[in-house]
Symmetry: D5
Subunit: 96 residues, 10 copies
């Protein structure tokens, strides 16, 4: 099942940079693991923001919740989840 997830990252000005870089590296590794698994199907940067627009393909709401709240940068994020489904006009059966 498909969900649009919008993640907006807010880092306090005085947060320790080294600690944040470590979290970013962990986030990237986790993202790539999920991208390879096909769960995190798409990710795009929003121009001018520390934000992304993502498409997740999961088996259940619970799986999505666990994935999102387990992300290394989750404590810095505002997250917005929107349930999607295939569009009837699409020529692609698997436009995911």
């Amino acid at each position: 099942m498909l969900f649009k997830v919008e993640m907006d990252v807010r880092v306090p000005l005085d947060y320790d940079p080294a600690r944040f870089e470590a979290l970013k590296a962990a986030e990237k590794a986790r993202f790539q693991e999920l991208q390879r698994a096909g769960t995190w199907r798409h990710i795009w940067r929003v121009v001018g923001q520390y934000s992304n627009v993502s498409i997740f393909d999961v088996e259940s709401n619970a799986q999505l919740h666990d994935l999102l709240t387990g992300l290394p940068l989750y404590p810095f994020m505002e997250v917005k989840v929107t349930a999607l489904c295939r569009h009837p006009s699409s020529l692609h059966d698997d436009d995911r």
Copy 2:
């Protein structure tokens, strides 16, 4: 260049159904033409809404403006455009 476009369709309760069906058919045809051309890369329905989330891949802002305002259902739409770009963590060079 990539853009997220969110289209929300509002049809007045007393709008002539036959006229609206004709516009919907024209919209579908135009959508599929643009999907085949690779310009309208993705489209998803938003669950419970007469709305879609789409990803466009265009050559310029002007091209996107002309495509959107020329859609048969455009006069019924609220449209929201967000400029996107490739995410640096993505494993896919062409995640569009």
Copy 3:
């Protein structure tokens, strides 16, 4: 899978009352069919509003979309969908 669905009904002041009553009867019949099937698990009135708060238990996002947009009163509704999941503290395995 569980979703909270909030439906807010807006009827134009000059809408034909007989026609609206017929749609309400159809809505009620459809609701009870889905309630019996266990799909529309809960429904409550919001005090002072022509609105309800509902819990749906569906197999997929697509099923929920089809159910909602097929409701007889759908053209009069503002609908808000929120994906839910079981709460880890709950004593009930099937709190749905």
Copy 4:
């Protein structure tokens, strides 16, 4: 009497984790006590958020106020309360 209560938990990034874990444990114990009593009838997680949607069944507004403001995590919560009542179309006399 039924109320929908939405609780959104915000934890400062630098809050002492041990202290927060103790509060969470107390919150869980209090929740289960109220769940067993039938007062906190339903609870669901909101996907991707540190938030829940709950249904309370209380004897009065005052009881609800005391329960909510007495929760161990209350100082971290944004709370939204909506008065509900039984829906006339429901087949269940006690859909609570």
Copy 5:
């Protein structure tokens, strides 16, 4: 139990004045009946608006819902309901 109810009346510019006056007279009669019963405890005009702030004292959420949705002017109203309770600092046991 106490509730603050805010009612905002919107009358279309072209609504038949005689018909509206009849509804207003019915509304006033119904209001005074409820005021005498002690159910509609307080009402105040909001300066510059066709709106009121009211305090209701009811036995249940369901009673409040039935009272509000049965008002003659209800189809013209935006209604906002807020659950209240006695304030612990008040010197009056029955500040209702």
Copy 6:
């Protein structure tokens, strides 16, 4: 003259509890003084919030401003003021 005043209290998580209790006691004493004087005519708790809805009966806007900004908890409050007047349908000449 009547005003609805809504006060929403926000206390930082790390504010010294003893200092806050002292301010609360001062607030309560000041409130009761104004309640006895008939200036602070009504106060109700908003269910689930650290907020109240109050009705003030003052001689002028300036008097209301001085009363509110002089409250011991004022620095912690978001305050919303709405000018009210007697409702023409009310049976009570002095519904204040």
Copy 7:
């Protein structure tokens, strides 16, 4: 007592122009009567809007309500009322 009143006028595209001109003339006459009386102390146009910002000097909330709701263009207005008082730093005792 002083109030800031912001009036925003919305005229439907198909409203009869002659009828509206008559209302505008009546509004202007009423305004000038109140301006001469010192009640409508100031009025300014908001650049680019069919709106004004006004300062009223009235004896009571009730007087302000009656003045505003009796304006010929009132049915076309969105009105926002804010209670003001003299500023302690002002050099003018009667800055009204």
Copy 8:
């Protein structure tokens, strides 16, 4: 040229009181200088808020910007600027 300027002052709870009093004294002195010069034509307190509504009469947008951003309390302010002009119905040529 006339502008409405709304200033909302937010002081952190733990800001040094002596330092803030010094800034307030400087603000008052600067205000009175501008009031005497006729630039800061009007100022009113908003009831219940640490806010004012002011009318400025300046020679240019740039002059207004320099005046506002140079105020001693500017770093504590949310500022909202609205361009105004004389109202055609006013009987006073110089209602400023």
Copy 9:
């Protein structure tokens, strides 16, 4: 003096197309007259909207108000006006 003006055009679905085309032609002629005069310095389309972002260079607030409210399409517009001034870092003395 410089102002950013954002114009959002809303045309009712059933508005007579020929009448609207005539207004559009008049709007274009008026725009070009003001563009040649240097008053309407810049105009850009907002992608996907029937909206523009414009920069006006006028002698006074009153001149801007008269220009905007006199536009042929003004009755269809939502207009937002923001006062601007030269930026101190700019290398161009006349970046208007």
Copy 10:
């Protein structure tokens, strides 16, 4: 391609002034470099705010993202990006 970019700068009250001045100097140098290159085509101050309205002329969304997120003051900014295009009524082919 053209974009409107609105930047709103928020500096914490207790941020080290010398450190902020150094960042401002770096921001100014970077701005002038981009202004000379024709990329940062226009910049204006918003009256009364620590904000600017800018027009960028870039080759791609990605270039704009890199420019904005690389600005020395970026960590202090709220940024809003709007895609623009040439207006068909403009007399200037290169109104950028």
